[in-house]
Amino acid sequence: MRFPARGNEDGWIRFGVGKLIHKIFAMTKQRVSYTLDSTLETVDNAEQTATRIAAEAGFEEDEVMQISMAVREAAINAVLHGNAYDPGKKVRLDFESTARDLVITIADQGKGLDVSKIPDPLAPENILKTSGRGIFLIRSFMDEVHIHPSHEGTEIKLIKHVHGPTVGGKEASP
């Protein structure tokens, strides 16, 4: 997956590799993008950045925790399973906050996740397995999860609605 360089256009900004500098846009629609190394530090940074942005977006404490955990799990997948710690491969992390949603996209440059091979961690035969719960937790914590694997890598889009799940989501708002 090629990560195109972006300038300061349309609310986008591209930071240098490995740097996590945040910028708050005084706009209704806020968007920020990071290009990160395939390291454990990236996993921690992604989680911390998600925590901050979710809190700034107005989510409640429990939701902030859910979002940060989902982002951490997606970052683990990207760094470990996607890029396999390859220093030549990067992880792209995008946050887009609107009045309705927080949309987070994590993309790696790996071989592409085979979604059909993700085991059900709740199945009796898998319950005592020591791995394979990442995607399950992500789906548990977010309102929408879209996984787009390709031969250039995997992109996973995580969406949390600002006022709870909408009709068609896991739960309807009151």
């Binding site: 454990l40 925790m65 799990e73 683990i76 319950i127 937790l137």
Partner: protein
């Protein structure tokens, strides 16, 4: 993550605090359990009362510790789950797999 262990009536109580996550607490926990088993200590009570964060790797490490101890004829139980850890074990259906206690003295007695 900080970890220490103490012996109470033949039970090894492992006090954990902080995070059990990839690259942070998982390896520490694994090494501690292995060390206890190597000394023949097969009654292990993991006190998670001060564990405020756990990710899928940490959950995997708890499962690994549980099965490793059980495969050697021992028992591993959990004590004092925080709400976050409790909720995660519920979501993953592991709450019923682990023997979870909330009183240390009663937990120690339950091994005998």
């Amino acid at each position: 993550m900080k970890i220490s262990n103490r012996q109470v009536d033949g039970v090894s109580i492992v006090d954990c605090s902080g995070r059990i996550t990839l690259g942070e607490g998982s390896v520490t926990l694994r090494d501690t359990v292995r060390e206890l088993l190597s000394k023949g200590r097969k009654k292990i009570l993991l006190n998670l009362g001060e564990v405020n964060y756990i990710d899928s790797s940490g959950i995997g490490e708890l499962v690994s510790a549980f099965t490793t101890v059980r495969n050697q004829g021992g028992e591993l139980k959990l004590l004092n789950l925080t709400k976050k850890v409790h909720d995660l074990l519920q979501i993953t259906k592991l709450y019923t797999v682990f023997d979870v206690k909330d009183d240390e003295a009663a937990a120690v007695k339950s091994f005998n």
